[in-house]
């Protein structure tokens, strides 16, 4: 929350800085429409932002100013110097409030709320009465406070403020010395750099990476040269460090933007009496920091619109046979030089007729143009300036300032926005934001002798199987495969690119499952997959971009240039982009069942002992690659950290690893997971030959032939029995600890390690095992206080008095035995009594 607040303050300040010139210019010429619009947007944004921070005073002020300016924009009122003064007074006031908020003071230090009303009255917003009565009250409001002030239009503003609240300014001044204001000034040390400089450094580093790759290739060709290889390795490490740092300098995960959204959605839907569920996807897409700032407002505007105008009230939804809770999903994907963000809601959709009527009424298009306009084009009129279909102006989404500003902001950075909608079903906004130069993770695929790169962010999974196993079918021109029980459209890359006109399906296609930002899944059939790695994406010449198939180019390690496929565009051209997440074909149940007829499949690999082995494919969750540094070998069993989770690791050689990275098969039995280190992953294969049991090897299920060579099939049962981490019991026994530092610091870890949950202080659990010190126990017993059913008593002295059932507090074995006994007693007879 603090971060958000800091962002809000910084943003408001920045906008003020930017619009400072506009303010002055507007003051000089109040009829200047462009300035008016700029200032209108400022107050509009402030209003929007404080709506979600709960600063009602700030919201009231900005809303009032916005109303007054909206009247001017709509021509209901002429901006005169009086209005200018009043608006500037409000803006000055907003600045004061921002300062106060930043210092962490309540806004009350700026004086009572009534002081704001004076300013609001001065704006003299009276939308019902219009222009004529407005003049009077406005002049009264101003004359009261402006006495004695002379023409410079800013002066009244200052007077107004001082009249309203004398203590404000001094209070702020003294604050800047107090401890409360310190955090605002003594944050992380930062410097500001021109983005252009960062760009230059970044592109320099990208070129260095490519030059290094080139050099690496030449070194490989020249053979082993120990005197060069060492320094070269060092260069590589340094370069990758520098590149990481440089990338981070400009990049930020879009998560930082997404993290604020659930709260925004919650607040908005509460305010509007709607129920909305938000679904965020692709938070790990990295985006230029500056770009994140650019899309922050557009995104907020679109979400507001979706909740305010798109998603219906719960009762209306139920009446239409929809779920009561509306779904708002936001997904980000990176594709070469663009990031696409899709915001879709399953609300009422856009009303084509109303948009058309409005567009004709406002003179955007003529009746004749309207008649000839296709629906898609018509819908996109909503981005025209001054367009809004909402009949009631609400506090939330305003009056159409949103969408024209959204488009303007995006176009400023070379992006675009488009909308698609199904009436009554869904609306989908697709934002495209460019990334002039970037390093992305990509996959290289091959088809008909050509290589192409695919951005990793789209790749859901790689599937290799026989056409029969995939249930490959053709429906007219479209090919379908069955993937995890869903029918998924399949494109032949060769046919898409016109390389392979025969359009034949190989018997064993390699399918790259691609998930679009809209959530649609499709398969791309290729002939082979080469490798994946970081790709430096460079823009393509416009004539090549026009083909619509490529998003950029990149150089492989061997210096060969390859083209990066524009996955989103290819999907769109083949009409694979559904308008909402509704297109999921579930095939008939019988084809879903994995009957006996289906051949078992296994993942073939070579382990570190050099043995070719296979593990049943159902067990393999994923193929991971982990740096050696992530492997911990301190315990008897090696463990590795993947995605922040510690997992057991087997299959490592005893000798230290020479490669910097290890390929790991992530196996799962549904409950627990383990990783199997392999030297090389070969392929997914079908187990067609007979399985011969090997009783002498406990870890082998059988031997079989794959491609004529013997392969050991790993016995999953034995593997998990030996190495699988037992899942944490859903309900662990609980234990009540004595009070005091010793129990918390020394006893608690021991108890937790023994598999007990500690009952938090203040909570009563009659089934928990109680551990008490002898003296406490005696007192409690003497006073007749309620005691846990099972109690373990501890004593301070090592030597026990005869016939005593207490345990010395450092006698670990006895303590463990007592605990085990207690929990056994609990399972045997839950109502059993004391077991100490």
């Amino acid at each position: 929350m603090d971060d958000l607040l800091a962002d809000f303050i910084a943003e408001t300040r920045e906008m003020l800085e930017a619009s400072g010139g506009e303010l002055v210019a507007w003051e000089a010429d109040p009829t200047d429409r462009a300035r008016l619009d700029a200032i209108f947007r400022f107050v509009h944004t402030v209003k929007g932002n404080c709506g979600f921070f709960d600063f009602p005073r700030l919201a009231n002020l900005s809303h009032a100013a916005e109303d007054a300016l909206a009247d001017c924009r709509a021509g209901r009122r002429d901006p005169d110097s009086r209005l200018v003064t009043a608006v500037l007074a409000v803006i000055d006031r907003i600045v004061l409030m921002i300062d106060t908020i930043e210092a962490g003071e309540p806004l009350d230090t700026l004086g009572p709320e009534s002081a704001d009303d004076v300013l609001i009255d001065a704006l003299d917003v009276s939308r019902e009465t219009g222009l004529d009565t407005g003049g009077e009250t406005g002049s009264v409001g101003l004359e009261e406070t402006c006495e004695g002030s002379d023409p410079p239009l800013h002066a009244p503003a200052a007077d107004l403020l001082n009249a309203g609240d004398e203590p404000a300014a001094p209070a702020r001044r003294s604050d800047s010395h107090s401890a409360g204001a310190a955090p605002a000034t003594s944050g992380q040390r930062t410097i500001r750099l021109p983005v252009e400089l960062l760009d230059r450094v970044m592109s320099g580093v990208s070129d260095m990476v490519l030059a290094r790759n080139d050099l690496a290739h030449r070194l490989r060709q020249a053979g082993n040269q120990p005197t060069i290889d060492g320094p070269f390795e060092r260069l590589t490490t340094i370069l990758s460090d520098v590149r990481d740092a440089i990338t981070r300098m400009r990049m930020q995960r879009i998560e930082t933007l997404f993290s604020a959204l659930p709260r925004l959605v919650r607040d908005l839907s509460a305010e509007l009496g709607k129920q909305v569920m938000i679904d965020l996807d692709g938070g790990d897409v990295e985006l230029d920091r500056e770009m994140i700032e650019t899309i922050r407002d557009p995104l907020t505007h679109l979400i507001r619109n979706a909740i305010d105008h798109g998603i219906e009230a719960p009762s209306a939804r139920l009446a239409r046979g929809k779920r009561e809770i509306g779904l708002l999903s936001i997904a980000a994907r990176q594709s070469g030089n663009t990031i696409s963000i899709v915001i879709s809601d399953d609300g009422r959709g856009l009303d084509e007729e109303r948009i058309a009527a409005k567009a004709v009424a406002t003179g955007l298009i003529t009746e004749a143009e309207r008649a000839a306009m296709p629906r898609d084009k018509l819908l996109n009129l909503i981005f025209e300036p001054g367009f809004s279909t909402a009949e009631t102006v609400s506090n939330v989404s305003g009056r159409g300032v949103g969408l024209d500003v959204v488009r303007q902001n995006l176009e400023k950075v070379g992006g675009s926005i488009a909308v698609r909608s199904h009436p009554g079903e869904a609306t989908l906004f697709r934002l495209q934001i460019p990334l002039t130069l970037s390093i992305i993770a990509g996959l290289t695929v091959e088809v008909a002798g050509h290589r192409f790169a695919i951005p990793q962010s789209y790749v859901e999974e790689i599937v290799q199987a026989s056409a029969a196993a995939l249930d490959f079918t053709r429906m007219g021109e479209t090919a379908l495969i069955t993937f995890r029980g869903n029918r998924v459209p399949c494109l032949m890359l060769g046919a898409v690119l016109g390389l392979d006109e025969a359009d034949l399906v190989p018997a064993e296609p390699t399918l790259v499952m691609l998930r679009l930002a809209s959530g649609d899944l499709f398969a791309l059939a290729v002939e082979g997959i080469h490798n994946h790695g970081d790709l430096v994406v460079k823009p393509l010449a416009p004539a090549v971009m026009r083909s619509g198939l490529y998003a950029g180019s990149t150089l492989l390690d061997d210096g060969q240039p390859v083209l990066l496929l524009d996955v989103a565009n290819i999907a769109a051209r083949h009409q694979l982009l559904a308008e909402a997440r509704t297109r999921v074909f579930v095939p008939h149940a019988e084809s879903h069942a994995t009957g006996d007829g289906a051949t078992a499949r296994a993942m073939l690999f070579t382990d570190y002992a050099g043995r070719r082995a296979a593990v049943r494919l159902e067990l393999v969750q994923r193929i991971e690659t982990a740096p050696v540094a992530a492997i911990g070998r301190t315990a008897a069993r090696a463990r590795v950290v993947i995605d922040g989770v510690i997992l057991p690791l087997i299959g490592l050689p005893d000798a230290p690893l020479t490669s910097p990275r290890v390929r790991l098969l992530r196996l799962s039995d549904g409950a627990c997971e383990l990783l199997y280190a392999v030297r090389e992953v070969e392929d997914a294969v079908e187990l067609t030959e007979a399985l011969t049991p090997v009783p002498e090897d406990p870890l082998a299920e059988a031997m079989t032939l794959i491609g004529g060579a013997p392969v050991t099939l790993i016995d999953a049962h034995a593997l998990f029995a030996l190495h699988g981490e037992p899942p944490q019991a859903a309900e662990r026994p609980r234990c009540i600890l004595p009070e005091g530092e010793w129990a918390r610091a020394i006893l608690a870890p021991l108890i937790t390690a023994a598999g007990y949950d500690i009952v938090p202080a203040g909570e009563h659990d009659p089934k928990a095992v109680g551990i008490l010190f002898e003296d406490v126990y005696e007192v409690a017993e003497a006073l007749g206080r309620p005691l846990p059913e099972r109690v373990i008593r501890l004593r301070d002295q090592p030597d026990a008095p005869a016939g005593c059932t207490t345990i010395y507090r450092y006698d670990r074995d006895a303590l463990m035995a007592a605990l085990a006994e207690a929990s056994r007693a609990a399972t045997r007879n839950p109502a059993a009594g004391e077991a100490a």
Partner: protein, 151 residues
């Protein structure tokens, strides 16, 4: 314009001139990666150090040309609109200086050539057609319209 350095190249059997200032370098064309579904006058992309160049077949970029022309193993590298291109020509001949302004010839150069020509220029090595790079790199009009229709 007199005294400007010009690179003289042969395109489709005609002598053409490129401003030497526009030509960044002349490279040996290594492997060219073709671009499926790109217009025919785009031969592909190739790598120059860490850069990717779009390879333009000038003969086809001018328009539908009759005949089969030899191709030089070298290409002229030019930059336009922030992108770098390698121009495939019949042959790269010489660098020379101009001895006059670019001018028109009676009867013109024909529709295809006129699109990419700034005019005829007299050089120390004889007359040559001064090439309008942006027009050349925009590709043949007809083909461009075709692609736009397809998009």
């Amino acid at each position: 314009m007199t005294g400007d350095l010009l690179v003289i190249v042969q395109i489709a059997g005609r002598r053409c001139a490129l401003r030497a200032l526009d030509v960044k370098s002349v490279i040996e064309v290594a492997a060219v990666t073709p671009i499926p579904r790109a217009p025919a006058w785009i031969a592909g992309i190739t790598a120059l150090r860490s850069q990717a160049l779009t390879v333009i077949d000038c003969r086809r970029a001018i328009g539908p040309m009759e005949g089969d022309w030899p191709a030089d193993h070298r290409a002229a590298v030019v930059a336009e609109g922030g992108h770098s291109y390698a121009l495939l020509v019949d042959g790269i001949e010489d660098i020379t200086t101009s001895v006059g302004e670019a001018g028109q010839v009676p009867g013109g150069f024909g529709p295809h050539w006129s699109r990419i020509a700034l005019g005829m220029i007299e050089t120390m090595a004889g007359p040559a057609l001064l090439v309008d790079l942006p027009a050349l790199l925009a590709g043949p009009e007809a083909q461009r319209a075709e692609i736009e229709a397809a998009v």
